[in-house]
């Protein structure tokens, strides 16, 4: 029963969602809206569960004085400050925005900025010519990069034309192949869930 009941609920919810997508029946649309609202409520509980796991994990780290335990103190303190500020003054208050705009937003932007350097280091490793595939990758990347800067066209007027062909023909056809096969894969996993044959998310194989 531990697996059968969730499988039945999952199949029912899946069928309602499919029906809502394809059938123009108001009752189905209304049921689907209700299910989505329940999903949001369950999501709230899941967030509480996750936060409890996070707090417990870091409390244990502090208690055991694990490596860099002081970072766990900072994390728990930040969690407490943001949670208290959110509950007491509300997320739209100026002082809450102050915390958000001056702490979280700059740190997020810094990390996003670091992506540029990581792209550079990954490209350096990938574009090292070790075999024919890597050579093709390097040549293609070089043409596409050159086409996106004025220097490319100055070097050879055909570079933007070749770049456009690369993106419109081999690249696009490859992308469409991946999209079609991934959609079929998604459909297969969906069908297995509806039939109760997909067991991995219940802890089965």
């Amino acid at each position: 029963m531990r697996r059968e009941v969730p499988a039945i609920v999952l199949a029912f919810v899946g069928l309602v969602m499919i029906a809502e997508t394809f059938l123009n029946i108001p009752a189905v649309a209304s049921l689907s809206r209700d299910i989505k609202n329940w999903g949001i409520i369950i999501g709230g509980f899941a967030l509480a569960l996750g936060s409890a796991n996070l707090a417990r994990f870091h409390a244990v780290r502090i208690a055991r004085k694990n490596k860099e335990w002081y970072n766990s103190v900072a994390l728990l303190a930040s969690m407490a400050v943001f949670a208290l500020a959110g509950v007491t003054i509300g997320p739209k208050a100026a002082s809450y925005s102050f915390y958000y705009n001056n702490f979280l937003a700059p740190m997020n932007t810094t990390l996003q900025g670091m992506t540029v350097f990581f792209v550079g280091s990954a490209a350096y490793r990938a574009f090292t010519v070790r075999n024919s595939e890597a050579a093709i990758l390097l040549l293609t990347a070089l043409i596409v990069i050159l086409s996106s800067i004025p220097l490319g066209e100055q070097l050879w007027s055909q570079i933007p034309v070749i770049s456009k062909w690369i993106q419109d023909v081999p690249n696009l056809s490859g992308q469409r192949g991946i999209i079609i096969t991934s959609a079929v894969g998604s459909m297969a996993i969906g069908l297995r869930v509806l039939l109760g044959l997909e067991r991995a998310h219940f802890g089965g194989e």
Binding site: G177, G185, A200
Partner: protein, 262 residues
């Protein structure tokens, strides 16, 4: 009753589901099972776990930022098959596993998947709440936390399989910096190039969905794979017929398909 604009997608869905169902029911009855081609990225999973075991270092797994109620749900469900397999291997070899989770709804499911994997291998005592860790549902906060885990616990194998977004590059390069062997996989087109350049092995698109069949050799999943192949053949035929008829100037087929999609 049927939305007129969705006639084509509904028809295709029914045909494809019929083909997949036929194949998996044939496989369930024990008829001839399809042979799965060699997928290097899937074979590298055991190699990466073996490497981590030899080094006495942990294995890291993440299903990415995709959730259970968004468009990446299929990939996340597929990633549980990998998590289950990796957890069983880690339990078998007594290798430390760290599964970091971004979406709060994925967290309890991932925890259950890992717990059951340890029970299946007869090692329930090895399962601890520290294995599956919810970090944050904020993208960059999750990235920072994973990078912190990499620096402190230095995993020797990193698996990134599921619904990945802009965090791909940061996490994959973070793992490359500490010298971890990496297997990535996603069906999200924009993240695939990042995975290809930063991971040692990458599962491209549908290979993510084929993992369960390849690793588990489950007849149902193998049958499903055969059904997927039939769907791909049908898709290829439709594309080929469309291209040829348009090139020859016969627009009937194109018009019929076009009307069903409008």
């Amino acid at each position: 009753m049927l939305f007129p604009t969705k006639t084509l997608s509904f028809t295709v869905m029914i045909i494809f589901c019929g083909l997949i169902y036929y194949s998996l029911s044939t496989a369930k009855r024990g008829k001839e099972l399809p042979k799965v081609r060699r997928i290097p990225a899937l074979e590298a999973i055991d190699e990466a776990i073996g490497r981590a075991t030899e080094l006495g270092a942990p294995v890291h797994f993440s299903p990415g930022r995709g959730g259970l109620i968004d468009e990446e749900a299929g990939q996340v469900l597929a990633s549980f098959q990998f998590l289950s397999y990796i957890a069983r291997q880690c339990a078998k070899y007594k290798t430390k596993l760290i599964a970091t989770i971004c979406d709060p709804m994925v967290f309890p499911v991932a925890e259950e998947v890992v717990r059951q994997a340890y029970i299946t291998e007869g090692m329930p005592e090895q399962f601890t709440p520290e294995i599956v860790r919810y970090l944050s549902n904020d993208q960059m906060a999750y990235c920072t936390a994973v990078l912190g885990v990499f620096q402190r616990e230095r995993p020797a194998a990193n698996f990134m399989i599921g619904g990945w977004y802009a965090e791909t590059m940061l996490i994959a390069e973070g793992a490359a910096v500490i010298g971890a062997m990496q297997v990535g996989g996603t069906a999200r087109l924009f993240q695939l190039p990042y995975m290809v350049v930063s991971c040692d092995y990458t599962l491209l698109g549908e290979e993510v969905f084929a993992g369960g069949a390849y690793l588990g050799k489950d007849p149902v999943q193998l049958g499903c794979l055969a059904g997927q192949d039939l769907c791909k053949i049908v898709s290829s035929v439709i594309i080929a017929v469309g291209v040829v008829t348009r090139l020859l100037g016969w627009n009937y087929f194109y018009d019929v398909i076009g009307k069903m999609g409008k």
